[in-house]
């Protein structure tokens, strides 16, 4: 069965139905909920693969694209139309989301096995999957935005899943509000786009806002400061992506979001949702990349498209987050900052190289980062909810499967040459940045970021898996672990199986996009790049391969030298780097004090403004209301006096009369049914007498 674009909605519908059904399922029906969610996801995966297959074998991106639109709302003369689109971009995302999602669903069965709110968890997961898939297939910026917000909602619900933990509740709120800031700007962009283009459909037989007709129209117009309209809109939309993808300066929510259950971190905050920002940029890429007809006074057109902004933001984020990651001690937090950093890489890729470069890294990253997160989850699960890497250690011995898969993920993330997917995708980004005309800045930043990545991943692996176990043994505080004593233990198969599958993909996925065989780029871009082993030895390619090999080697070597050579033995031991430069290390450990900066600036301003509004309310508006109320009370008093002495005197008398009458009649209403019956009997007789004889007499 080939999935047509018209039946594309079935893919998000499946998890949505599952979410709805699970929502009405009672808590004890765990097996039902899990199998429903997994089954729905499986069906979605099959449908997605079918859709994916149907896009293969097309020569150009335009030919592979099919969409179906329908009328949604009729507002006056304007008709709002929604639709689905199936093109290589959405197809590859569909497969990735459903596949990784399915594995994470399966993994969650093991991870959440002891949780009381098991069914609720699967309800939220399914809801999230539905929203994400809807986002991917949307052919309308508005529909995309709706799903975008739904994704945000699901993320909020899942981060705050353990809402009884104050930190989780706070993290959920933080994530929700921070991303909302980006979303407001995004919405502004949507509104602007609608007012300028008159449509929000991406593709609509030549009339969509991403098609040539509208694009050139948009690029032709200018707004304040000589900025092209398309650039302005692109920048606004990019703000949404900044929020969602945790780019600087809105990255603060992502590390905190690690308070959620680990499968959530893997699914939402590593593989799919955060990638939504990158996907958004890729989706509206034509808008950002549209060459702007150079107005008078500007020499080089690309400088005023939105892409350089994307590239620079990404580059800064990549390094910034990587630096922070170096000094973190929480296993998931390191991965979180790593995610932020890698998202920055994707943005660089999009900014300097195009859709295929960024998306390739997105896909490979989704797999190995999900792998890493799930591996971290496995570690946490096996070590009695311990997340501090200083209290772990030596797990190589206890959890061989987790170690092996984690190591693969780590090498993929670090970009160990040739055999790991991360290498090829990151290499593509570096190469594109290197050949980027406007500046070499992003290239250097990215290279430094890659170095740091290799370093901090090595540090983490050394801490967690080498040396001796530093956690408290024989600690029975965790009720579920009473069976296993205090020893770390390998996770159940339902958790390790997805790890293994993901590990396989973390390796092989790289080969679909090597310079020697750029299938992925061809597929996504619809171009036909040259292929062959010889491509590897082209000047630029070889250069970047060598550079990155050096970088990775240096990073890993440095990490191994500092942390692997003589393993840490005491959990309270001071970090090697801290011993070396406590000031910088402190700065990094405290995440460059960004949270604190926001605390003293944005949040304080907000609080001050709220207090101001409050006092305004209290003194000014309240005063006015009070004055009016006193006036009314005065009038009422006059009224009352009039009432009491003029009207009531007369009224009281008549009331008294009525009351007396009522008292008289109430003797008839004595509650004795038979008295009533008697009256009815008498009345019956009287009526008959009247009717028969009364009539006759008249």
């Amino acid at each position: 069965m080939m999935v047509q674009s018209s039946s594309l909605y079935l893919i998000p519908l499946m998890p949505l139905l599952a979410a709805g059904l699970i929502a009405v399922t009672r808590q004890p029906h765990r097996r039902f909920a899990a199998s429903l969610a997994i089954g729905a996801m499986g069906i979605s995966l099959l449908l997605s693969i079918s859709a994916f297959v149907s896009t293969l074998g097309q020569t150009s991106a335009g030919a592979a694209r099919s969409f179906s639109n329908f009328d949604w709302l009729q507002i006056g003369p304007a008709t709002l139309r929604l639709g689905w689109v199936l093109d290589p971009l959405s197809a590859i995302m569909l497969v990735m989301v459903t596949f990784v999602g399915l594995l994470i669903f399966i993994y969650s069965v093991g991870y959440m096995a002891h949780d009381d709110n098991f069914t609720r968890f699967f309800c939220f997961l399914s809801l999230f999957a539905a929203a994400m898939l809807g986002l991917v297939i949307a052919n309308n910026l508005l529909l995309l935005f709706m799903c975008w917000e739904l994704v945000g909602l699901a993320s909020y619900l899942l981060i705050g899943f353990w809402y009884h933990k104050p930190s989780a509740a706070a993290a959920a709120k933080k994530a929700f509000i921070t991303t909302r800031i980006g979303d407001v700007v995004f919405l502004l962009g949507i509104v602007w786009l609608y007012s300028q283009a008159g449509t929000l459909l991406f593709y609509d037989h030549g009339h969509g806002c991403l098609e040539h007709l509208k694009l050139s129209e948009l690029a032709g117009r200018t707004t304040v400061g000589g900025l092209a309209v398309s650039t302005g809109i692109g920048l606004l939309i990019f703000c949404g992506a900044i929020g969602k993808s945790g780019q600087v300066p809105l990255h603060v929510w992502l590390p905190d979001a690690m308070e959620g259950p680990t499968p959530v971190s893997a699914l939402i905050h590593a593989a799919t949702m955060v990638a939504a920002g990158v996907f958004l940029v890729a989706r509206v890429y034509p808008l950002m990349a549209e060459p702007i007809p150079a107005p008078v006074g500007f020499v080089s057109a690309p400088f005023i498209s939105a892409l350089p902004v994307v590239a620079w933001v990404g580059a800064i984020t990549a390094v910034f987050a990587a630096c922070i990651a170096v000094a973190q001690t929480d296993i998931k937090r390191i991965l979180a900052y790593s995610t932020v950093s890698q998202l920055g890489f994707m943005m660089i890729g999009l900014g300097v190289g195009g859709v295929a470069v960024g998306m390739f890294h997105l896909i490979t990253h989704a797999f190995f980062k999900a792998l890493l997160f799930m591996g971290a989850g496995s570690v946490i699960h096996g070590c009695h909810e311990e997340q501090d890497i200083r209290r772990l250690g030596g797990l190589k011995k206890y959890m061989p499967v987790t170690f092996a898969t984690y190591a693969i993920g780590m090498m993929a993330l670090s970009g160990v040459p040739l055999f790991f997917s991360g290498f090829w995708s990151k290499d593509g980004i570096l190469e594109a940045a290197h050949t980027w005309k406007p500046s070499q800045g992003p290239f250097y930043l990215a290279a430094f970021g890659a170095l740091l990545t290799a370093f901090y991943m090595t540090r983490q692996v050394c801490y967690v898996f080498f040396g001796n176990y530093r956690g408290a043994k024989g600690d029975h505080s965790h009720a579920a672990d009473s069976l296993h004593g205090g020893e770390p233990h390998e996770s159940p198969r339902v958790m390790t199986m997805p790890l293994a599958i993901l590990a396989v993909f973390a390796v092989v996925l790289g080969f679909i996009g090597t310079p020697a065989w750029p299938w992925f780029q061809n597929y996504l871009g619809g171009e036909n790049l040259p292929s062959g082993v010889g491509e590897l030895f082209r000047h630029d390619v070889l250069y970047t391969i060598l550079i990155s090999t050096v970088i990775v080697t240096v990073g890993i070597g440095l990490g191994w030298r500092l942390y692997g050579g003589k393993p840490v033995t005491n959990p309270n031991e001071v970090d090697v780097l801290e011993r070396w430069r406590p000031d910088i290390y402190g700065l990094l450990r405290n995440k460059f004090y960004v949270d604190e900066l926001y605390e003293v600036t944005v949040i304080r301003f907000n609080a001050w403004f709220a207090a101001f509004c409050d006092s305004l309310d209290y003194w000014v508006w309240n005063g006015a209301v009070l004055a009016v109320s006193y006036l009314i009370v005065g009038i009422a008093w006059v009224d009352r006096v009039f009432d009491e002495y003029v009207i009531n005197l007369g009224f009281d008398e008549s009331c008294k009369g009525i009351a007396d009458g009522g008292r008289l009649f109430s003797r008839l209403q004595n509650g004795r049914v038979q008295n009533y019956l008697r009256v009815i009997g008498v009345a019956l007789a009287a009526l008959v007498i009247f009717l028969v004889w009364g009539r006759k007499a008249s």
């Binding site: 038979q674 008697r678 009997g681 008498v682 019956l684 007789a685 008959v688 007498i689 028969v692």
Partner: protein
């Protein structure tokens, strides 16, 4: 024919009076059943077979049983020491007599007693098929309404008679035993009943 009518009428009336005047409520209920049976016989005499059977089915088969159940459930079947009628029962009787007098006067003085109103030539009344057709064609709306009414009444009766939370139950016995307790219990059987 006249003779049969007279017998049936007398039986019905006597049992009706008994149903209204006996001291023991269970006897009243049984007499009521006899009255219903007499009325059913009268319908038969009027060639309204279907009505007659329905009368037996509903009144004797259901209403009389319901009354019996109600009597037992409210312990009304036990002997009472106080008078069973009102202090002012004479008023009721007078009113009833008044109504009867008026009705009789009306019947006797109306045109139907003088005019030659002849019953239909003896036949077996309408067949069941005719009644059915009539119910399903001419009277289908009332039939539906009656169905609705019966449903509502059933639900209502169940809800009304359902057990309330036991706040003021006498501690001596459970309701189940109440229902089954020998009605006008002489001493020893009452004791037996309260045996745990």
């Amino acid at each position: 024919m006249q003779f049969a009518f007279a017998i049936i009428a007398a039986l019905t009336l006597v049992s009706g009076i008994a149903a209204m005047s006996l001291r023991n409520l269970v006897h009243c209920a049984l007499c009521l059943a006899v009255t219903f049976a007499g009325l059913a016989a009268m319908y038969l005499q009027l060639h309204a077979q279907f009505i007659s059977f329905a009368q037996v089915l509903v009144y004797i088969g259901a209403v009389a049983i319901l009354v019996v159940f109600a009597i037992l459930l409210t312990r009304s079947g036990e002997p009472v020491t106080h008078p069973v009628v009102h202090s002012s029962w004479i008023v009721g009787v007078i009113i009833a007599l008044l109504v009867f007098g008026v009705l009789t006067k009306v019947i006797l003085s109306s045109s139907i007693s003088s005019a030659a109103l002849h019953p239909l030539p003896p036949k077996d009344g309408p067949s069941v098929r005719e009644i059915g057709n009539s119910l399903m064609i001419d009277y289908v709306l009332p039939l539906q309404v009656i169905g609705l009414l019966l449903t509502a009444a059933t639900i209502g009766a169940v809800i009304i008679a359902m057990h309330e939370p036991k706040i003021s139950q006498p501690p001596a016995s459970t309701p189940r035993v109440n229902g089954a307790e020998v009605p006008h219990a002489s001493g020893h059987s009452a004791e037996l009943t309260h045996h745990p």
